[in-house]
Amino acid sequence: MTGKMNAKMTAGIRGGLILAVALLIAIVLSLMIGQIRLSASDLWTGLLTGKGPGALTLRVLRGPGVVTAIGAGAALGASGAIFQILLRNPLAAPDVMGFTSGAGLAVVCGVLAGTSLPMPLLSAAGGLAAACAVAILAIKRDGSQVPITLILVGLGIGFLTTAGNSFIVTRLPPEQAAEAQRWLTGSLAARDWGHAAQVFGCGAVLAVILAIQVRSLGLLELGDDLATGLGLKSNRARLKLAGTGVLLAAAGVAVAGPVPFIALMAGPLGMRITGATQPGGRIVSAAVTGAIITVLADLAARSIVPGLQLPAGVMTGIFGAPYLLWLLSREMEAGDI
């Protein structure tokens, strides 16, 4: 028994190390590659002395974007894992179910209306509204709520909010419209330290809240009866966890736009690498994996066409969709859907 546990622990540690190294490599590559290519030693000198092209890149050109990408990716990844555990379905991610595009819609509406409300607040309001709409509309006539209906209704809310977004975009003047279209695809271009601080600030608060709630997520996994027997008010706990999940996704959307498929991919990929089975471990590995995916997607979007910055969301769309297809075919063979 203990030998087995130890082996599992070692595997977990090895997985954690792999993720950490991968994140580090992604960060370094993302800082090195771009319109001007830097060597690792340039970066190192810049980091130590604060002078030279390395320092400029770290401080102004690429540093803020990379840090924002890490924060946004981690928030989206963690959010995805929460819903995947909560609904016990790998398809149940905030981007598949329309929460992220709802958050994006609220931000764009706010910008159009010229409000001075901060972006995370708008984004949170939009995400929560979309989530409530999905939750309510997915209740069937007999009062039951099945995950597959939640996912389908969520897709529908996603279609609706996406249409709302393109409606709003047509109302903007041309330059602003192009900018808004980019942001709605999910973009990390021209981020500054303010964005980075914002996503890490919101993320830190939500991480603390989530750490308190993680125990109830573990209990819910045992099934409602057992969880209630152990003294958990399961419906209330589920609602609180979903709220935290939506807010995490909204924090990511506020700085990076509704980047698709990160929340969907991060959880299962992270779990595969670390072998984590407990909710806490799954969420942490999803957050790190989300950060890696986002940093790499942004890097690819910046460097695939020389001299041009594509929105990162285009990359996650191109690589995330085949993942969704693969997931579908696997689920089908397992007979789950």
Binding site: L91, L137, A138, K140, V146, I148, T149, I151, L152, V153, L155, G156, I157, F159, L160, T162, A163, G164, S166, F167, T170, R171, P174, A177, A178, Q181, R182, T185, P260, F261, I304, V305, L308, L310, P311, G313, V314, M315, G317, I318, G320, A321, P322, L324, L325, L328, S329, M332, I337
Partner: protein, 328 residues
């Protein structure tokens, strides 16, 4: 029969509105003048015939084609959520055209639109293979999710290419959402031929599709070869969808909305449902386009956005009604 007459009247009304309602008020009198006593020196006459007319023709082709494509797909898959937009067939057509013009190294000049057909066919085959359609009945949930994924991927490619070529936002809107605003620049004649071919094929095989929907064993007993009918349906859907995307871009949700209404108008006879789908599809598309043009002047809402705003709530409503057993 009365329902069909009402649908047809709606189409005529939609067509007249498309030609007459606009930012510059012309009215019915101007249209009549331009049609009966055309004056080439009058800019208002030129506007009606050179801007509005192509728009009307494109709307007729795309609306009728998408409506019929939706009806065939729903009949073949017995999936009420089937729509060429949702299942990624539109996206496949758009992707092929945009990739083609990228490889040829020039902007899409209309002739490239012929690539929409292989694109649509490829996406249709892919979505059924990936959605489990080849192993018996494709359940609505799988097929829909496979379509959403395929569509997301292909449209991401389309966005990437259009953004990388730094093309105008209008081009982006056409190839990602669908729009009738560029109708004058599209190869309307060729696409009309394709749409007519698709229509003829669909009408011809309609009774055999009905036989197939009784189940493949029963259909064989009635002397129908399921594989050949499915192939025929694929060709018809490809021709119709390719034609629609060629003139209007990947307009989604029309194929979801129309078949339900068409069943009311056409009864439960597939041939009549198809005709009703063509009439209703064109009418709805033209109404949606006209509303999109006048609702917030001077900007116009693209018709693809309008159909999505109408179609998405419909999708949610239908998703709620799917029985638990139907999702397997």
């Amino acid at each position: 029969m009365r329902a069909m007459a009402v649908a047809f009247l709606a189409l005529v009304l939609a067509a007249v509105l498309t030609l007459t309602v606009g930012v510059r008020e012309g009215g019915f009198a101007l249209l009549w003048q331009a049609l009966t006593a055309f004056d080439p020196s009058d800019p208002a006459h030129i506007a009606v015939l050179s801007i509005r007319m192509p728009r009307l023709i494109a709307g007729l082709i795309a609306g009728a084609a998408l409506g019929m494509a939706g009806t065939i797909m729903q009949a073949i898959t017995r999936n009420p959520l089937a729509d060429p937009g949702i299942l990624g067939i539109n996206a496949g057509a758009a992707f092929a055209v945009v990739i083609g013009s990228l490889i040829a190294g020039r902007a899409d000049n209309g002739l490239m639109a012929a690539l929409a057909f292989p694109g649509a066919a490829g996406a249709a085959v892919a979505v059924f293979a990936l959605g489990g359609g080849l192993k018996g009945d494709a359940g609505p949930v799988r097929l829909t999710l496979a379509g959403v994924a395929l569509s997301a991927m292909l449209l991401s490619f389309v966005s990437a290419i259009i953004l990388a070529r730094n093309e105008a936002l209008e081009v982006f809107r056409f190839w990602v959402t669908g729009s009738l605003a560029q109708a004058g620049m599209r190869p309307l004649g060729y696409m009309a031929v394709a749409a007519v071919f698709g229509t003829a094929l669909a009408i011809t095989i309609a009774p055999r599709i009905e036989a197939l929907s009784l189940g493949s064993a029963l259909a064989r007993g009635l002397g129908t070869k399921p594989g050949r009918i499915q192939l025929g349906a694929l060709v018809a859907v490809t021709a119709l969808t390719g034609a629609a995307v060629g003139v209007a871009g990947p307009v989604a949700f029309l194929g979801l909305l129309v078949p339900r209404l068409a069943r009311r108008v056409g009864g439960h006879v597939l041939r009549r449902e198809l005709i009703a789908s063509a009439v209703l599809g064109a009418a709805i598309l033209l109404f949606a386009d006209t509303i999109g043009r006048i609702v917030i002047p001077p900007t116009e809402i693209r018709v693809g956005t309008m159909t999505a705003l109408i179609g998405a709530p419909m999708f949610i409503w239908m998703a709620r009604r799917l029985r638990a057993g139907a999702s397997a």
